[in-house]
């Protein structure tokens, strides 16, 4: 099926700004689902609040648009209520890691079989460009006119430290890789995290003079590299893409672990 057939056409075009990366993530996610061959009725998408979280409304699955930061908690209920369903949680970086940080680390610890796709645009898009826990030190946001003082999380390290059994990172530029990684994440039994570096030209790009969506995607192309690539010897600042953790563990259920 073409991507469009997974959308609720009535509600499109979507509200995202021109050049926003979230739409690329949405279509990548659809392709991954198509690739796996899941029926629409087998998929539940649970999101929080944020530009990224608006994704739920557009997708023709069972969808839930919940509260800022709480998507993983709602998703936990859905998954435990119907363990046979595939539950995907598209999240913003603020949603997942600021207000939602606790549910994130606990979902990772429990290793519950959910797929968290985190659209990391390093900013709060929906509320107009405040810094998130993923905004790198020194960058500007509407609440950090002199640059952000705090260090950002390394999402991959945090997910690992909390116990996630599948952790990957890619970008909206790497659209094929994106689809492949989300596919692997969904197939993985246990809590999977896919960090997708996504662009918010409207706020993050504009405030930090990173250009429009095109320019920002060129940045993703030029400033990332595959795990273990030699390029990092010359340029250690390159951000690594790839699958960092992929462990097979017994499947969590509150009744006790089950070998799968």
């Amino acid at each position: 099926m073409p991507v469009k057939d997974y959308l609720r056409l009535r509600f499109l075009p979507h509200i995202w700004c021109p050049g926003c990366g979230h739409g690329i993530v949405m279509s990548g996610m659809i392709r991954a689902i198509e690739e796996i061959g899941l029926e629409k009725n087998e998929v539940v998408v649970v999101s929080g609040i944020g530009c990224s979280s608006r994704m739920a409304g557009y997708l023709d699955f069972h969808t839930m648009h919940t509260l800022h930061g709480r998507a993983l908690a709602f998703a936990t209920g859905v998954k435990l209520g119907r363990p046979d369903l595939t539950v995907i949680v598209p999240m913003g970086d603020g949603d997942a890691l600021a207000i939602g940080g606790n549910h994130f680390i606990h979902a990772a610890r429990r290793d519950i079989d959910l797929t968290a796709v985190i659209m990391n645009n390093r900013i709060y898009g929906m509320t107009g460009g405040q810094g998130s826990p993923m905004t790198p030190q020194g960058m500007r946001s509407t609440t950090a006119p002199r640059g952000i003082a705090d260090a950002a999380f390394d999402l991959v390290e945090l997910a690992k430290g909390a116990g996630a059994s599948f952790v990957a990172r890619t970008t909206t530029f790497h659209a094929t890789e994106l689809t492949r990684m989300i596919e692997k994440a969904i197939r993985h039994k246990g809590f999977s995290v896919v960090e997708v570096m996504s662009q918010c030209p409207t706020y993050y790009g504009r405030q930090n003079r990173l250009g429009n969506g095109v320019e920002m995607m060129k940045g993703f192309r030029d400033n990332t590299t595959s795990i273990g690539s030699k390029k990092r010897e010359a340029r250690p600042d390159l951000i690594e893409r790839g699958i960092f953790v992929d462990e097979d563990r017994p499947v969590y259920s509150p009744e006790g672990l089950k070998a799968d």
Partner: protein, 65 residues
């Protein structure tokens, strides 16, 4: 690549971000005066589908004939 396919642009959904244009390996796309993507050079197009993959607005489709 199947030179038979067609790149179809949904002008209602296209927001003119230029991503498809910028990253088309063959420079087969342009933004028209109304700031909508336009498949200006079908002859150059390899039908690689990258424009479809990267369009944030699901506004490009590579339709197989």
């Amino acid at each position: 690549m199947d030179k038979e396919g067609k790149v179809v642009i949904n002008r209602e959904w296209c927001k003119g971000c230029g991503i498809c244009v910028a990253f088309c390996p063959e420079e087969a796309l342009i933004l028209d005066p109304e700031e909508k993507a336009y498949w200006a050079h079908p002859e150059k197009c390899k039908r690689c589908g990258l424009c479809e993959l990267r369009c944030p607005d699901i506004a490009i489709e590579l339709v197989q004939k």
